[in-house]
Symmetry: C2
Subunit: 127 residues, 2 copies
DNA sequence: GGCATATTCAACCACATGGTTGAAGATAGC
DNA sequence: GCTATCTTCAACCATGTGGTTGAATATGCC
């Protein structure tokens, strides 16, 4: 069985659920950068960006190498793999999306039929 | 350019960042189910599960068909596609994970060399 | 040593989240 | 109509989140 209770996935998906953090990852995919460089483009304080970086670090998506007074951050994309794997299980379902809708309609039909059996005069199409 | 500011991605990743919700999605991938059926296995109140379902609905991952007094929920995996696409950009980076570490080490080496140039007596290997 | 730079830490704030409880809506069935 | 069932709603609570500010830490440079 596939495990849905995973602190690793919790952390990764939570880290990705914020546009600032996704943007940070994108920039880090170009090259390792210092906290100050990463913070520059944002309308945020340095401390604010620092917090976001800690969330990314907690998810294992950013590695930090302290060099003197600057902290060089670099991307580590490996934890994303688990996330993609988790999501890919559902690929079959978005490929079958029409079937999903159909199963829903069929369920409604079954319910309607059952309802009709028990109270034939109700909720029928125009007689 | 890839867009990192996306309320759609915010909602999907946030919805996935909780093990209860991932478990709900997994169960819905087997078959559409009512709220009561979905709530049964959890040590949660019905209202609690109802809230989780609303988060999933807000992300577009669950569709609801009200049939009388029961609400039949079904999976809609399509929003996951955007999430996978976003993540797949990073596949190149987890395939190159050794390069990432290497670039980090190289950056450290450059910094060490620079430092050595400016203060040759410091931080050298055993002389 | 002394000052500037890079970054974090701690405290605080407003607001969201995950959870509960108890009441309120709908609907099914008698 | 009455009652039981399925579900949500509203209020509340504790905690987490995203953000700020100001002080603290650590390093680099003269």
């Amino acid at each position: 069985m596939v495990e849905d209770s995973s602190p690793q996935l919790d952390a990764v998906f939570h880290a990705l659920a914020d546009p600032t953090r996704r943007s940070l990852l994108r920039r880090l995919s170009q090259q390792p950068q210092s906290v100050g460089e990463l913070a520059a483009p944002f309308a945020l304080t340095l401390a604010g960006v620092s917090k976001h970086l800690k969330v990314l670090e907690a998810a294992g998506l950013v590695q930090r190498s302290v060099q003197g007074r600057t902290h060089l951050c670099s991307l580590d994309a490996r934890p994303l793999h688990a996330g993609v794997e988790w999501m890919r299980y559902y690929e079959q379902f978005w490929n079958q999306r029409l079937d999903v809708l159909q199963s829903l309609l069929e369920a409604e039909d079954r319910a309607a039929a059952k309802s009709a059996r028990h109270s034939p005069a109700k909720k029928r199409r125009k007689p």
